[in-house]
Every structure is written in structure tokens, then in C-alpha cells.
Symmetry: C2
Subunit: 760 residues, 2 copies
């Protein structure tokens, strides 16, 4: 680090401050005597972030002597940055404050109305040489966001970031739920430890992913969940990462100070910026109850409002997939073993001998369509439908897929037609093999194919190392690629669910066609997933947006799902049901095989009944990695619109309405229309536990006190345990009211689900 | 270098050989006792290439432990290369020979018929571990081509090249015409020196280009022209560089041995290959007369036949441009100085104050259209027509242009309409600023815009460092990009002239819509260009395909063309005229300002009269850097088709026929139709000299002995000299026949042009 960025010898002064609307949080901002910007954060008089530095190190542009004859005529004034670091020499040009309070409605989400209420402080900094940098702080009752802003009227024009120097100086050796810092993957189990323990543990926590690039034993990822010994829950994250690399956090474990550690591009540059521009928001959530962390809308609120004018084509999706059978090894994505490698456009698949283990074949897909339709789902994902899966992975093959050519045994037009006749949409699959160059070349044709046949959603994938060579999954060019794919999809009225892409930072507020993301360890990791993993993700990964976790695995034993395979997942069936409520996503999968659901039809009924878009959400109990209990009330118009959409797709066959709508309207399975039906007041409650057995008690005081409800509780049976009895569950029906409460035992790796429907 | 690739201790044996059809050239192939493949080349019993090694160093793939649960189900047999170098342990599995003789017709070219006649030797190599590599040699009378071939039935599947080890061991300290090796630019003056002198000189020869990356003081570029002390002309080059990096040549000046030095990608990999595949051809031309080097079609013959079925839309183009006035600083590409930087789609140009120096404004463009039409040109290039030129260069700005949005003062539809009414097509300009990611995102829309308004040719540019970051102009991903742009253009019936792209390697045979390339130091370098430069390029750069050199600069003094500027070009007007014959290109520009042509209408007449596509070409005198005299006979159907095309474009106004057609048909300026006109026998002769004054004498024995011809000679005046009297020329008319000859003095930096037209 350059001398100018060294730790200041003397304490900074903080002449500027702003507090949250309720006065509990206060940010103070100032400079050291060397002109280094700093801030600190208090909650109710207690320090949460100690004085912490702000700024950047820059990379000086090569100065060319300018003899190139083509360009020496360029006009005067084309100035390059001299690379002076933006971490000292600043003085305050001015400051201003403001307040904001509005309530907005997301296209889909955990609740109908979201309040965005903050006080703001803008501090305008200037350096003697004319370089300007502004600091904007927004202070909410449950946390703060702040960012760097570079106005156009500035000596800086284009500049390259060597490192962003934003610090978060902790007040103690907090407990943290963390995953190891990485430029290419987030697919790790979380570790709970003291900050001081991270260094010793980090190496052991790293799985061997398809693409993984660590950088330090004290590097961890955003969102980072912390807890102080006196019970404050702190979450350090980022919001609205656009045209900027995603950050990790590097811990100085001597001083217990984190600082940003951005993802470098192929030339090692950590951000190429052009003024006017802004950095992503740096966020610090501070609450005194873990339930408030789940209720926080800090990240969404810091993003820009919806950029899509007509959102009528965006809708929640409950889907199944020809997918788990490949994940488990029952069948394969590929079609043939006949040749050692594939050259698209050259290899003639029709001339090759199929290996007979191809999952995405016409017959199998039709059977899935039948099952999904019969059980009231909206859609069916099919992976492995297109040419190229024989050698798609690990070769860093550029032209790996064309996204439009189906295998010989996948009749794309006929299967779509068949699906639509049953009220099911097929979900497209675009595995890019991380060759974004190739994907962008074929994207327009690929989206056009989707439009032609009536696909309205795509699952995209980014497995393996990135092409352009040397780039990372979270470097600035990739951040730009993911958003490019979303925006182009929006032009085609296509919803996107990207896997292995960067963890979301609330961009779904602006681009609600981004209905899902993986970006964390999901069900596909099977036996690798620690019990309690799903009780951490809502605190971390899901702060930035919904996750396509692909829950609903009833058969934990791989040898039963896919004979010849081994491994057992570490959860109970009741745990899987609970996830449909505790994990918010407008895109929810029932991931297991139809044959496994057919074995447990009564438990499967909850997956059929549960909604995926919400009027209101309540967080009844929460502790990271241990327990989450969430209650949600479905949003009616979404259910109605879905019923209308399905009927339209299936040529007016009203008996195709979803089971979720049937549940809310209390329709019999034979009912062919919502006409005349009246919605009942319905709530769903879900709970997930951790590695230890746990009993939770919660009140039903959120119910309408004037009504009575039918309760169906799907719980771990007394003998249930993820290791010894994962499939032991009980289903109990009862009549309840708002004065009642439930006490539910959750097994090790367990959970529960509860539906509550007004009785008329 | 690994031990396995070390120089073999003992002399290899050469059991396999093949000779050229006339028996003059013989290649011998074999292995050392360690199994390293080698070859040597003789001409008429005289060694030309001493025993030289062949092979590759590879990069081992990282072995992953394969724990990733998503991929561990991938089928058995997915094997990675272990990285063993392909330079020893080989034995010969078999060999075969063959002969080939055909005559083919290029879509455009230096002659109607090209003979492709060679003998071939294929040596199949195998290693004990099952790795196969074949060597294919094609031996022509004027040189050889050889390449590596990797069959599909092979232990190798995907492999990464650390270095290609192809050697060219020279027999002596030859004279070379070379430019310094570089991954990003070819825009250098040539240096003539002994091989042993390169190391000491190299550093001084490098200009400060917009993007330049040297790698060694003994690195030089292909095509490399050599001359032995006993008068052999040797040229080392490459042909058909597809999906493979372009090579440089690294000289070991102790042993006088060159070897390939490929351009690395952003991760330092010098080629990512998938069997089955082939390397580019490595070529060694050997002739005993420099004129034969110019007549050689070795590089074109080694490329694949035309891949475009309907070529009716591809045609030669003689054009002018709103370009030189920006190059010289008279006007600018940009529109405004009002803002420090531009953000496309955000910056509102209409709200900005124009600086008044924008070249591509409606009035100026109309004046150029008028001038081009009045003088019988086909087309007009306009640069700086689109938003973004204020800060396009040197910022490594990704979203730098959108290629579809004109500046407020450029009325694209109206200007095209006006041009077409006068029989002129506008030539589109796509400066990519080397952001190929951005270009590919906008390419389809950009080509569609061209189709919509009737552009059928585009000049593309690649100024500055490449995005994707860390890539080079000549690395494999960029090689693939350039061809991608050509292929996509072909789908749109668009001809491409790429500047700053890789030097061509004969691909125009396969993709004849690639009508031009810069890829060497062209006129834009003005006073930097050494006299004699244009007498080297046909030996080097132009072996791979035509160059858009942009000749025809009549006013050498920049202070006259662009008041306030300085610098003088080092050529005479007669030299510039000669270039229209000595430089073959289907795309020829009259690059100077109309006002400069108006001052020399009699000299300008030759540019108007000369054709751009040829029935036959003869090379009358040649020595690299000193002199080239070429005679060419126009291809009639091209002229006729152009006349038809122009008439059609201009709504049947037959008075728009090109001046070249007028000249061949001896039509008066008032003639409105070719109807009834009969073509005369016409030849053009051009000469260019070097830094020294020179007198050439050549016979007209190529003329039809039964005819008489009107000769118009445009020559340097007696006092002409590039420094003291660059604009002194004489024009002499005479009547000549095939038994006559011409003796012409060329000034320092001079040349001449001669038209010969049958007298009836």
C-alpha cells in the first residue's frame, strides 16, 4: 500500500453525521489531517463500526508519447489519470442532507408493499489537483448503505482501480457465518467461527469446484453475517453492483478490520471507471434480533426502481425438471459415447450411436409433462436437450453450444405443443460452459427460438472457467455480461434464472425478469450440504435476491434414486417442505423425481398447495444456522393471473388451474374454473432447523381473529432424524384460531410446514 | 525448453522425401533417434533450409480431483492432456504421397486463372502412448507449405500449446527485410539488414503505436523476405491461419535459425486445440528472381476454395473518403468539445455545442459525393459519422460505439439516397476501438442498418488495446473474431475491409468478401513512411492478400492540406500513381482531398482511368525496397458489371459509368451508355522506386503484336525528388507497339504510371 494510504497516525475528526429515521443508527463522516476520508457507525450510542477508512488505490495509465500518427490529431484535453490514489489529500467542498420515505410495490416478492425510508448525507470531497469524489450515506433504521460518486465535473475521466480501500473496523472478535473468499464460486458450506479463527479454518472449507479461485486465508465473501457477543446482528454486503466487480472482504485479523477486496479482471484491474459514475453501495445491516435481519429490505431499497415498463409477462413459476435424474447419475445430459469429442456443425449426431442414457428424450419428457400437469405445476425445465453435452465441461471449449440445435431424440416443436396443450410451459436451458463470448454470439438466435416456440423462461448456467480467458465469474466484464443477458432477455419478454452467475445484489428490483439465481451451494451438492445450511442462506445469499435452491428432495438416499450411486442427503422430508416457505423465491422447483413424489403423495400435497408470491411475510423465529420459522400469506392476484394464463395456454381448459389456486379457493380437484369461487384467508408457515434437534413454539396471532382455520401440519415424526429416519413425518389436521399457538419439534436436519386455511 | 525438446545430439535421418512438379524443390522428412520430427529443404541440390525440428510444447491441464458433484457424473473417458511435449518419442506409422494440379478462378484478383500444382507427402507419426500427429508437406515449384494435423482417432483430444517448435534453419547470414516481432501491430517501417544485425537494430525500429507488444530483440514478423548472397529469394510466411494464433519468428542469431513464436492469449496460452484439427500452413517460398516472388500464388493456393456460394454481390471498389482530412488534422472525427467524456445512450448530443470541425457533416459529405460521382468513382467512405468519437481512443472503453447512431449533423438516410442517385455507394465505417466484445454485441444491428440503407461494404478498425482485456490483436480469440465478423458480414452480403486486424494469410480465397485489410504501415503514417516502403510490401504483407494502402496523396506537404499542421510525405506524385498498378487490391482508394486533385487534374486522370481487377498481371522488374514494375490487363466483365451496377443504383442514369470503363471503351465523357461501344485492348503499367534514383527499361512485348497503342506516361519530371520537388511530373503521349520499350527515370521516392490503349 502506498504511503498516502497508510493508516493515519492520529484519530480522524467527524464533523458530519446523519441518523436513521428512528434515531437508532448514526453515521459520522470526516477526514484525517492528511485528508483521508473516514466514517464510523453507532447504534443507540454503541459503536458498531469503528473509525474506518474510505478511498481507492488507482493504477496509472501507461503514458504514451503520442507519436502515433493516426491519433496525434486527437483534440487537446484528452487527459489520462495519473494514478494518484484516492485516499488522502481530500478536503470537504460541501455537504448536504435529505430524507426519503416512500412505499413501493415489487412485481413479485415477500410482501406487497415495501417501505423505503432513510435519511441521507452527501459529503463532497475535492483534492487540490481538482479530483472530486463524493460520499453518499443512506441511513435506515436497520442498516446503512454508502457509496462513492464521481461527478462529471472532475479531473478524473477514466480511471482504473487497483483496490477499493473501504474498511469495516469491527469492535470485537464477533461470531461470523462465512464462506471463503473466491473470484469464481460461492458454492461452499458456511462455517460459523470467531473472526480470529477464520485464518486457521479457511483452507479446509474449500470444495473442489468446477471453477474456484481463492486469494487469502482471511478472505470471505459478501454477504457476511456477524453476531456480536452482546447480541447485535451485523451483515456486511453490497447493493446494486453494476459495471463494477463484486467484492470480497479481506480480514485483518490483528485489528479485526475488514476491507473490500475486489475481483480482478484478466489484466488484474479491479474496476475500470468513467466519470460520472458511482460505486456499488456498501451496506452494513445492524439489528438486535435475527428476525429483523430477515425482514430487512435494505438491499432492495438501495437498488433503482423497475426499469421495465410492461411487466405483465413476468410471473412467478412453480416448476419441475428433467434434471435431478442427471444430477444423481440416473441418466445423462449427453446423447452418445461414439466419438471422443464434438465439433458443433461438423459432428453429425444422427450418424452416431446413442448411449441410451440420455435423459431429455421425447418419451421421458412427455412423462414429466404429464406428471407436472397432473399436479398443478406451471412449468418444466429440461436440461441436456441440445447438442454438445458430450464434452462440454472442463475443456475451456469456446464453441461449446449453439443453444438452438436439439438432440435427435428431442422434438422441440412437438414437445412444446404437447406441454402447452396441458397448461405447462417448458423452461429453456442455456448452459454456457462459461464461454460468454460464444453465448453472446448466439444469444439473439437463442432468445428468438424461445419466442418462436413459446418458452418464456430460461435457466442459464456458467459452469467452469470463464472465456474470455483469464476473466473471473465476478470480475467487471462478467458482471456486465450477466446484466446484458438479463436486458436482452427483457427485450424478448424472457425471464432469467442464472446459475453459477454472481450473487445478486438486489438488481431484481430494477430487472424483475431476473426471477432466480443459484449463486450458492444448492441441492445439487447432495450429501455435501451441512445440516443447517438452509437456515443460513436467508441471512446471507438471499439478502440480494431469490435463490433457485431447488428444494423438495424426498429421497435422500442416492442409491434408491439412481441405482449404482451412493451418498445420502442430510435433511428430513419435513425440512424440505419447510423450505418452500422459509426460502423466498418467485421460482420454486419441486426438484425430485416424479417416482419419489408418488411414494409420498400426502407430503407432496404441501408442495402442490403452497404459493410462490406473497402479500405479507412474518419472521416468527430466527437464528443463523439453527432455526428459521416464517409465515407467509399468498398474493391473490398472482394466483388468479396464473390460473388465467394456464387456461389460455391450454386452450381454455380451466381444469388446468394450479393446485396452489385450488388450495386458496378450496376447489375440489374436479373443479374446472375459478368462477364463483371465493378466496379463503390462507397462510403458510415453514420452519427449518439445524444440525441439532429443536422445538419451536409460535403463536398464530397473525391470523384474522374473526375467523377459524383448518391447519395441516407436516412435521418430523418423533423418530425422524436426517441420518436415521429422514423420511419419517407426520401430517396432522386441526382447527385453530388466532389465539392458538403451535409447538413443533424439528429433528436434526429437520423442519416443518403448516398450511392454514379459513374454514367457511 | 524441456529436455525432450533439446537440440538432438546426432543428425536426424530423412527417409521420406517429396519434390516439386518441376523437380527443383525437394523436402526431406524424418526423425532423430529420440523420435523428434525434422525436415530440410533443397532447391536444385542446394540446401535452403537446413535440418530443422518440428513439434510442440504443451501446457498440462490442471488435474482436478473431480469432486464437483455436478460433474462427477460425467461419463468415463473424459481425459485431459497430460501436457507431454510433442517433440520426441515419435515413430513413423506410415506415409503417403500424392499430386494435385488444377486451375481455379478467383472472384477477384491479379489474374483470371490461378494454377494450383503441387506434390504432397503425408507422414503419419505416432507416440508410444497413442498420441498421433501427422505432417503434411505440399511442394510447389516456387515454395513449400507444411502443417501439423491431429486426427480424431488420437489420444489427444483437447490440448493447449505452450509453443510451436517449428524451425527454419538458415544456411547463412542472409539479407532480410523485416519488421520487429509484435503481438499487436504490424505498422512499422521495414529494415533491411543481415540476420546477424537484427538484434542491435530492432529496438530502434519500433514506433509508438496505439497498441504494440514486442517480445524479443530478435523477433520478427511473417511474412519475412530474405535474400541469400547467391541470389535466392526466400520468404517465410503462414497460410490459412484459422482458429490458431498468428506466429512471429524468433531468430537464434548464433545458429541463424528461426522458430515459430506464437501470439499468446490473455492466459499466456498459444493455441487451444481440439482434435481433429490442423495447424496453419508454414510456408517457405524459394525463387531465384524477385519477380517470381510477386508472381507466386503459394499462399492463396494453400487456402481452401471459396466458401460463399453466391458471389454476385462481391465486387471491386474504387473509392474516395471523408478521411484524409481527419488524418491530416484539417477536420475531426468528433463532434463536440462540450463534455469531458461520452456515455452512449446517456449523452444527448443534440444538447451539446458542436465544435465546428466535424468532417462528416451533411454539407461536406454531399460535396464529396458530387466530386466522387463526377470523377467516376464507385464509392465514398465516411469516418466519424457515428456518436462516440470524442473519447473513443486509449481509454479501453468497452461501450465505445453502437455503430448505428449518427451524429446530429449526419443525415444517414438522406445522404445514402443522395449518393445512390449519383451512382455512388457509401462505405460504412465501424471503428471498434478494439472492443470486440462490444462490436459483437452490436454487429447484427449494425449490419442490418447497412442492409436497410444500401451500404454493401464496411471498413472496420481495431485501434488500441484489445477488449477482452489481456488479449492481443493476433491471439487465437482475435483471429476467431475477425473471421466471425467476415462470416457474419457474408450472411448480410457485406464486404469487409478491416484495419489494424491481423495480417491476412490468403483467407480471401475462401472468403472473397474480405476485400481489403490494412495490417501494415499505410499512407496514414505520412512523413514516417520511408521511401521504398511500397517496394517492399508486395513481397511481404501482400503475399497474404490485398492491402488497403490508401494511395494517391498528391499534396505531400501537410501544412497545405491542413493549415497549422506540419510534416512532408516522402514520395512523388508519379510514385503515387504507380501504386495503383504495383499494389494489387480489389479495393483502391483515391485518398487525397478533392481540392488537391483539382490542382492536378491531368495526373488525377490516371487514377480515374485505372482499373482495379485484372485479367493478367506481369512483373517486369523487381527488387525488394528498390523497385517494382508491374503490368496489368483489366478484366472486362468486372468493368461491365460495375457499369451496370452503377446505372442500376442511379436509376438507369447511364452517364454514371465509371471512368475506368470509359477508358477501356474509349468513351467520351458525355457518353451515356456502353451500348455499341467495343472494348479496346488496354494495359496499365506501374512502377515504384526506393530511396535512390533509378532508371528502368522494360519491353512492351506483352502487347498484342498486331495492334498499335496510345501510350500515356505519367513520370517523374527530371527535377522531381521526394524532398525537393515531389509534385514535378511529366505526362507524355506516344504511339507504341509490342516491339517498343520504355526507359523511365524514377526519382528518389518516385515512380511512374503508364496506360496503353489500343488505337482503332
Amino acid at each position: 500500500m502506498l504511503a498516502g494510504c497508510a493508516k493515519p497516525a492520529e484519530a480522524p475528526s467527524f464533523p458530519y453525521s446523519v441518523s436513521s429515521p428512528d434515531g437508532s443508527l448514526t453515521v459520522e463522516v470526516g477526514c484525517t489531517s492528511q485528508g483521508q476520508p473516514c466514517y464510523r457507525l453507532e447504534r443507540s450510542g454503541r459503536e458498531v463500526v469503528k473509525p474506518s477508512r474510505l478511498g481507492f488505490q488507482l493504477i496509472a495509465d501507461e503514458q504514451r508519447s503520442g507519436e502515433d500518427p493516426v491519433i496525434k490529431n486527437a483534440r487537446e484535453g484528452l487527459k489520462f489519470t495519473d494514478g494518484s490514489d484516492l485516499c488522502s489529500g481530500f478536503s470537504v467542498l460541501g455537504s448536504s442532507t435529505g430524507s426519503f420515505d416512500e412505499t413501493w410495490q415489487p412485481v413479485w416478492g415477500e410482501e406487497r408493499d415495501i417501505r423505503n425510508n432513510y435519511n441521507e448525507l452527501l459529503v463532497n470531497l475535492v483534492r487540490e489537483d481538482g479530483v472530486r469524489m463524493d460520499l453518499r450515506f443512506r441511513v435506515y433504521d436497520d442498516g446503512i448503505g454508502f457509496r462513492y460518486e464521481f461527478p462529471q465535473d472532475n479531473k478524473l475521466r477514466y480511471f482504473k482501480v487497483k483496490e477499493e480501500l473501504t474498511e469495516f473496523a469491527m469492535t470485537g472478535d464477533h461470531t461470523a457465518w462465512w464462506i471463503s473468499g473466491d473470484y469464481d464460486t460461492q458454492e461452499y458450506n458456511y462455517t460459523r467461527s470467531r473472526l480470529s479463527e477464520i485464518r486457521a479454518i479457511s483452507g479446509k472449507t474449500r470444495l473442489d469446484n468446477a471453477s474456484a479461485t481463492g486469494f487469502s486465508d482471511t478472505g470471505v465473501q459478501t454477504a457476511l453475517q456477524l453476531k456480536t457477543d452482546d447480541g447485535l446482528y451485523i451483515n456486511i454486503h453490497e447493493a446494486e453492483v453494476v459495471n463494477y466487480p463484486t467484492t470480497n472482504l479481506l480480514l485483518d485479523d490483528k485489528t479485526l478490520t475488514f476491507r473490500t477486496w475486489l475481483t480482478p479482471d484478466a489484466e488484474g484491474v479491479k474496476g475500470r471507471l468513467q466519470a460520472p459514475c458511482v460505486s456499488p453501495w456498501r451496506t452494513v445491516m445492524v439489528v438486535d434480533d435475527a428476525r429483523k435481519a430477515l425482514a430487512s429490505r435494505l438491499i432492495l431499497n438501495l437498488n433503482e426502481p423497475c426499469a421495465i415498463e410492461d411487466v405483465s409477462w413476468i410471473h412467478p413459476v412453480k416448476y419441475m425438471g428433467v434434471w435431478w435424474e442427471m444430477i444423481t447419475g440416473k441418466t445423462e445430459w449427453s446423447y452418445t459415447y461414439d466419438v471422443p469429442s464434438i465439433q458443433l456443425g461438423v459432428t453429425d449426431y444422427k450418424a452416431l450411436k446413442p448411449h441410451g442414457r440420455h435423459g431429455a428424450n421425447n418419451g421421458n419428457v412427455r412423462a414429466y409433462i404429464d406428471f407436472a400437469a397432473a399436479n398443478g405445476f406451471d412449468a418444466l425445465l429440461i436440461e441436456g436437450w441440445n447438442e454438445g453435452w458430450e464434452d462440454w465441461f472442463g475443456c475451456q471449449k469456446d464453441y461449446v453450444f449453439d443453444f438452438v440445435t436439439p438432440y435427435p431424440d428431442f422434438d422441440l416443436p412437438a414437445l412444446n405443443q404437447y406441454a402447452h396443450s396441458k397448461g405447462i410451459r417448458l423452461v429453456m436451458h442455456h448452459e454456457t460452459s462459461s464461454s460468454t463470448v460464444n453465448y453472446e454470439r448466439h444469444m439473439e438466435a437463442a432468445y428468438n427460438l424461445m419466442n418462436q416456440y413459446g418458452y418464456d423462461a430460461v435457466k442459464s448456467g456458467y459452469v467452469g472457467n470463464i472465456i474470455p480467458y483469464g476473466e473471473h465469474h465476478y470480475s467487471q466484464p462478467l458482471i456486465n455480461h450477466y446484466l446484458y443477458a438479463i436486458k436482452e432477455a427483457a427485450k424478448h419478454h424472457i425471464m432469467v434464472n442464472a446459475h453459477e452467475a454472481v450473487r445478486p445484489t438486489g438488481l431484481c428490483r430494477t430487472w424483475p425478469n431476473m426471477i432466480g439465481n443459484e449463486s450458492a451451494m444448492g441441492t445439487e451438492y447432495r450429501s455435501n450440504i451441512n445440516p443447517g445450511h438452509t437456515a443460513i442462506l436467508p441471512f446471507t445469499r438471499q439478502q440480494g435476491g431469490p435463490m433457485d435452491y431447488t428444494p423438495g428432495i424426498f429421497e435422500q438416499d442416492m442409491s434408491i434414486t439412481a441405482p449404482g450411486q451412493s451418498g445420502k442427503m442430510r435433511h428430513t422430508i419435513a425440512n424440505q417442505l419447510g423450505l418452500y416457505v422459509t426460502f423466498y423465491s418467485p421460482l420454486q422447483m419441486a426438484a425430485d423425481l416424479p417416482s419419489n413424489y408418488e411414494r409420498f403423495p400426502d407430503a407432496f400435497q404441501f408442495i402442490k398447495d403452497v404459493a410462490v408470491d406473497w402479500e405479507k411475510s412474518l419472521y416468527l423465529e430466527a437464528e443463523p444456522g439453527e432455526v428459521i420459522v416464517t409465515a407467509r400469506k399468498p398474493k391473490l392476484e398472482t394466483l388468479n393471473a396464473a390460473a388465467e394464463g394456464v387456461a389460455k395456454l391450454a386452450d381454455g381448459k380451466k381444469d388446468m388451474i394450479s393446485n396452489a389456486a385450488r388450495f386458496v379457493y378450496a376447489l375440489p380437484e374436479s373443479a374446472k374454473s375459478l368462477k364463483g369461487a371465493r378466496a379463503r384467508d390462507v397462510w403458510y408457515v415453514g420452519g427449518v432447523g439445524g444440525p441439532e434437534e429443536r422445538t419451536v413454539t409460535f403463536s398464530l396471532n397473525f391470523l384474522d381473529p374473526s375467523l377459524r382455520y383448518e391447519a395441516i401440519l407436516y412435521a418430523d415424526a418423533p423418530e425422524a432424524d436426517y441420518e436415521t429416519a429422514p423420511q419419517a413425518y407426520t401430517i396432522t389436521r386441526s382447527e385453530v384460531g388466532s389465539s392458538d399457538s403451535f409447538t413443533v419439534r424439528m429433528a436434526r436436519g429437520g423442519g416443518f410446514a403448516l398450511s392454514l386455511r379459513e374454514i367457511r
